[in-house]
Amino acid sequence: MLSDLLIRLRSLFRRKAVETELEDELRFHLDCQIEKHLRAGFSAAEARRRARLELGGFEQMKEECRDARGVILVETTLQDFRYGLRQLRRSPAFTLVAVLTLGIGIGANTAVFSVLNCVLFEPLPYPKAGELVELRQIAPGAAGLASFSDGLRLSPSMYFTYARQNRAFQSLGVWATGTASVTGLATPEQVRYVLVSEGVLEALNVPPAIGRWLSRADQVPQGPKTVMLSYGYWQRRFGGDRSVIGRNITVDSRLREIVGVMPQGFHLVDADFDLIVPIAFDRSKLILAGFGYQGIARLRPGITIAQADADLARMVPIWMRSWSNGPGTNPLFYETWKITPALRPLKRAVIGNIGNVLWVLMGTIGVVMLIACANVANLLLVRVDSRRQEIAIRAALGAGRGRIVKELLLQSVLLGLAGGALGVGLAYEGLRLLVAMGPAGLPRLTEITLDGRALGVAVLLSLLSSLLFGLIPAFKYAGPRISESLRSVGRAATASAERLHLRNLLVVAQVAMALILLVSAGLMVRTFQALRSVEPGFIDAPHLETFRISIPASLVATPQQVTRTQNDIADKLAQVPGVTSVGFASSMPMEGMAPAWDTIEARGQAHPGEVTPLRLFENVSPQFFHTTGTRIIAGREFTWSDVYGTRPVVMVSENLARELWGAPSAALGKSIREFSSMPWHEVIGVVQDVRENGVQEKAPAIVYWPTMMEDLYGPHTFDAVRTVTFAVRSSRTGTEKFLNQIRDAVWSVNSSLPLATVQTMQEIYARSLSRTSFTLVVLGIAGAMALALGIIGIYGVISYAVSQRTHEIGIRVALGAHSGHLLGMVIGQGLKLTLIGVGLGIAGALGLMQSLSSLLFGVTPTDPLTFTGVAILLALVALSACYVPARRAMRVDPIVALRNE
């Protein structure tokens, strides 16, 4: 066995020497034989001829000797490899097209897979992330709540009950996001912060980069005022200086000591933040209500979500009995809400509903890959077809069938690997671009990388696709009837039906898949149109500049002063050149601020025992609706005297007016209130419905209160909304000069007020459409790729068919066929294929589009207009793809064609 190995190795590595030896040995044999014949009296020429004849095929024998030495596999593979490379080099156009097609296909698939993998499959970047859950609860009894997809958030009192009484969790906490101004460091700055209770950092269990976590002592109202920084903020504001620990910064005019910095890449669930601020609830002031916090918890090992749900469900009645909403209120009121825990893994909460989009994407891109493979297979078929003669000769010279299949496959694998390499490069760049663009609504963006798994997929794709498109021609032409093709070489009368059959099939498949992709792209276009045609409740969004301003109590003490400051800012803004109108509100439509909502009571409409729906609450300033362009259906807007006089007035949305009083005009003069200790508020105006939660969502019923009102806790105390979004209507929005003037106007009132989240209404609006537009863009690209590849496929097949039929066409022309008839014949052939493909595609699309339905709006998955339009488009495109070869067929010169033989 050792000799075996040695000989194999020697044959492999000393290939040259072994080959020469073989050559020498056979030549020696030949010489001996010639001498023998000479001795027998033959002439020199005859002796040589006889010897040659007796020895047989020189090359074939060498091949057999190599075979006998057992080097055949490695040796010939290397040979085929070199041969394949040479072949590819010799036809650069083919190679380029094939590699590009594959590269784009593999690149797109690898990139989308990376996104899918990093967003959906990879665990969240926390230790033992599987134990983390979102404390989500639903309240089916609280009608009106259903439109808020994230369920019923937690109130602080709930947090205390849950944190103290649970048996299912290692740690549990609540958090919320917000913006605050940081002063004392250069210019005042608005920063994003997360408020966290005790238990949040403990649950996530990510140690700080430097310093320490917020401690229990920091969570006490009278305790030390502390803060943690995000890595980014630390780098940006303090240059990563490690001595920041122990220093103080002023957050919303309150001095806080920096105790720690979280590591790079740390997100709190999906929130990006600059500061982490402890909540420090005052237990003595807590009531049942205030469902404004998101909950997060880490399950004890071995506890399931269902067990944890049961544990929470057990605590809901305890919570109701332990707290109250104040004297005279019914603590069991919330029983009607049917608060039900519905925990979900934290990952689900982070990912949201993007999974749907990503799977659709993956499917789409996969189809593009199939089309690309079909195209390359077609190209290869043409190539192999033109090499039939060569292959037949090689077969006749002793190349086995397996050897030829292997050679053809190797060439495909070479193409596949080259395409794969290109694809990985493209995917890498594509992902970088994606992360840089940062499409809104794509969670875990910063975690997206091209990891080992994605590379594995790229390699797998390269190999699988090479097999897919390589096996087709390999088996077709290395079949048992190789000799037949040798015989038929040069005698091509009409293209053999069988040879075209396979390629026709590929074209039909391509057209069908292209149709499916184009239909999905078409449906997204229709969805986008439908969304764009929805009246959002404001006009001319690009010329509406918005920004948030927060006035902390430490800066401006009383509600009246807050209102005064806001009024002054509005006045100053109105004086900026080009500004036509200014207003402000607790939030802009679609801005995505944590909503406030409650039930209201309409005077004279008490329905005891009945569950009253929750209404969305907004606070708006005078002139706000005028600024946004929201139509006043009946009545009037608030005036400054309404606000300063804290007159009990209110505005409602049109749908609320219709629901309560039948008609918008009937609402005027009627009264509503939030709770019994609140004075009745008179409805003075009804405004157009506003798509507060995005264009896709139904316009909610909204109650618009003034920005300063009597406080919840009794008459004669007032409260003003301290954080508001200003809206400025101007033709100069977005210019730097304009923004500077706006900032100066604000600072001329109070120079400690930073402007946060400066953006035009258009940006807010576009973001609410981002999921749709993201899907649209990707499906559009995929559809365009499919269409382009499909055209190439049809064109390739038809023009090849024409070139094969040149002889036949020549005969037809010679026999007097009209050129119009020829045109029809060729185009008819292409059209037939297209129509079969379109038919199959429609059938497939009808089945598949259901999976798209969650992404659609205002259009059914079987929208006839889209289907017809796409079918016609494809047919037209196919027609034009056939036209060029058809023209060539018309110009066939019978003399030339027949002489071609």
Binding site: E25, Q60, C65, D67
Partner: protein, 110 residues
């Protein structure tokens, strides 16, 4: 070319090569000549299958090859039996004899 010559049955070439080489080292052409000679021109070696067979036997380790000079001063590749080759020859010889005897028996008795 005479009708009395027959082509070698499948698998016997290896045995004959080994047998010839048992007499001493020889090169390929001489091996085929010797087979023809010894068999009184009855057995004819297909020259096309001789060399693959030699290479196969070499790989199995039954024969080994070396380059040497012939009587008329030419370099030729000589094959020689190895120890395992000798054993193999014995085994194949006895196997062949048994086969031949059995075949002869059948032919005579029927």
């Amino acid at each position: 070319v005479t009708e009395s010559r027959i082509d070698l049955p499948q698998g016997t070439l290896d045995l004959l090569i080994l047998r010839i080489l048992a007499l001493g080292p020889e090169h390929g052409w001489a091996i085929s000549e010797r087979i023809q000679q010894v068999s009184k021109d009855v057995l004819r070696v297909q020259q096309g299958s001789l060399y693959p067979a030699l290479h196969r036997l070499e790989r199995r380790g039954w024969i080994k090859a070396r380059w040497a000079t012939t009587g008329n001063n030419r370099r030729a590749k000589y094959y020689d039996l190895t120890k395992t080759g000798h054993k193999q020859l014995e085994a194949e010889e006895s196997g062949w004899k048994k086969l031949a005897a059995a075949v002869a028996q059948v032919l005579e008795t029927t």
